[in-house]
Amino acid sequence: MDTMPRPTTISPAAWGRVRRSRYMADRALKAVCLLFTALGVFVLGWILLMLLYQGISALRPEVFTNTTPGPMTKGGGIANAIAGSFVLTFLGIVVATPVGVLAGTYLAEYGRGSKLAEVIRFVNDILLAAPSILIGLFVYTLMVQPMGGYSGWAGGVALAIIAVPVIVRTTEDMLRIVPGSLREAGAALGAPMSKVITKITWRAARAGMVTGVLLATARIAGETAPLLFTALNNNFWFRADLMGGVANLPVMIYQYALSPYQNWRELAWAGALVITLTILALSIVARLLFRKETAR
């Protein structure tokens, strides 16, 4: 920061003008930066306020217990959408975490310096930034058509494909931070590599890896586009075999928000509030964990 004192005793009168223009430019920069930051904070506040205002006015106990209603029917809720989102996100994370953690482990532990690892890291970054709608298209061709219907499995797989790159990235980064001396201590005791990794390195990087999983969860909990063609939606509870479409919050919001029915619009806001608060909570928890980790 600006800790050094500015020299004040120099400058004959001729320098005055130059100094003034420099100060003007400086002040302008500071003002602009402050303005932009205030703008950013303001926009977030605006969005959250809107959500709170619209969402809270739509919240009633039955929102959490009843299923989605027909248009204009009173007393409906979004319980099936909440449960469905929970199931889909859970599926996605359950599939993505082993794959992501193992892949990240490979990149960090086995593959350092190898060409293959370079390529995979690059590919992972592409997947990380790939438009999620293309992933939805892919899973539709892969699963929905052959299986003969929309299903929660396809939705879960689509979400998993989105979550994996996040987990791979964070796992690799976290594992790299672990000091080599820990690994060497394990090797010196005669432990095979897999034991070193699982019992020592993973344990050391545990908090960071959990953060990665939490971030991935937050990311996929709000995804709409991939679910449009895989899990679609359902006006009732999902089936035990998850076929036939699974209700979920993002697609429900998409359908209801754009409709002219008052009760549906209210439910869309309620759903938006639920989903945003959940994701914000997950993100905050993840960041708190991360801070604690790096503070060590």
Partner: protein
């Protein structure tokens, strides 16, 4: 902490799943035109039989595509498929209910039901030829109403839609310029305006955008109190849309004249006839891979024929005449067979 309600909801879900194991679940997708009545029927059917009919309104073209891809148990479309297409895809088509497409508007100073339009003027508006509300052609039809000097925003369907098909068929019948221009179909090149998704999207846009005009199924207009216009029918009379005028349009229909009952009811003669009336159809496979599912779907529609008339009337749809319903049932028995060749529907 935040997971507790989710855990509870999940628990509830699992519990209700195990309770509902014996209930059937049918998935259908397609037209947004009949969505309100299908949704109402599904709700009541669920209460009476615990069977669940999950209908997703993704547009008529979506319904056709999904039933062809066999990703749903039945598809729904407003634009009937032709005989050749039904043959090729091995589908059986039947009508369920009828309704009307109505032009809806949001014009300052013109209260509901006060706007009078003709088919040709409507076509010109959507063609961009008439661009202001106080244009001479519109003013001529609406003497006594003050029309604002504002640009018209036409609102159309951005997704492939049977409602669009019905609407553009009508426009093609009453306007040469439209016929040779955008033409009739479920998805046309709209020269001007904005797109909304589904009947719901168009209704929402018209409500939101001042000085706009769109076309939606009548139930949407009524349920959301969107002003709809009167149209001049083939006999030259100005009629307002309601169950009576829809029925008048359907009065002279010959349901056997097209394969799969695929007739059109637009621009029908009759003093009381509403010019944009249309039936809406269901598509099921002739020899389905999941016969039990289709059998359940047929049971649902049979129930709807028997007990759904009142609900349809409440939402301003027009039920099929009883003799047509019998024709439909006969077609189910004759055409839809399970794997051993037995008809799926038993009376």
């Amino acid at each position: 902490m935040k997971f507790l309600p989710y855990a509870a909801a999940a628990g509830l879900a699992v519990a209700s799943c195990s309770l509902a194991v014996s209930a059937a679940e049918i998935t259908g997708a397609g037209a947004t035109f009949p969505f309100p009545i299908y949704a109402r029927w599904a709700e009541v059917y669920n209460k009476e039989t615990t069977n669940r009919l999950n209908y997703q309104s993704i547009g008529s073209s979506g319904g056709i595509r999904q039933i062809r891809a066999k990703t749903v148990d039945f598809g729904a479309t407003d634009a009937p498929l032709k005989g050749a297409e039904l043959e090729k895809d091995g589908l059986v088509q039947f009508p369920v209910v009828m309704g009307g497409v109505v032009p809806v508007y949001n014009v300052q100073g013109v209260p509901a039901g006060q706007m009078k339009l003709t088919g040709e003027v409507l076509a010109d508006i959507f063609n961009g030829k008439i661009s202001k509300w106080n244009d001479a052609k519109i003013a001529q039809l609406n003497q006594g109403v003050t029309l604002p000097d504002a640009t018209i925003t036409p609102v159309y369907r951005s997704d492939g839609s049977g409602t669009t098909s019905v609407f553009t068929t009508y426009l093609s019948q009453v306007s040469e310029a439209w016929k040779s221009g955008p033409g009739a179909g479920s998805s046309v090149q709209w020269p001007v305006g904005q797109g909304g998704k589904g009947n719901e999207g168009v209704a929402a846009l018209v409500l939101q955008v001042p000085n706009s005009i769109g076309y939606v199924e009548y139930a949407y207009a009524k349920q959301n109190n969107i002003p709809f216009a009167q149209l001049q029918n083939k006999n030259g009379k100005f009629v307002a849309p309601d169950a009576k005028t829809f029925q008048a349009a359907a009065a002279g229909a010959d349901w056997k004249s097209a394969p799969g009952f695929g007739i059109s009811l637009t621009n029908q003669p009759g003093d009381e006839a509403w010019p944009i009336t249309a039936p809406t159809f269901i598509l099921v496979p002739k020899a389905p891979e999941k016969p039990e599912q289709v059998a359940e779907a047929l049971k649902f529609f049979d129930w709807a024929f028997k007990s759904g008339d009142q609900m349809a009337a409440e939402l301003d749809y027009v039920a099929l005449p009883p003799q047509v319903e019998d024709m439909v049932r006969a077609s189910w028995q004759a055409d839809i067979k399970d794997k051993s060749g037995q008809p799926l529907f038993k009376k």
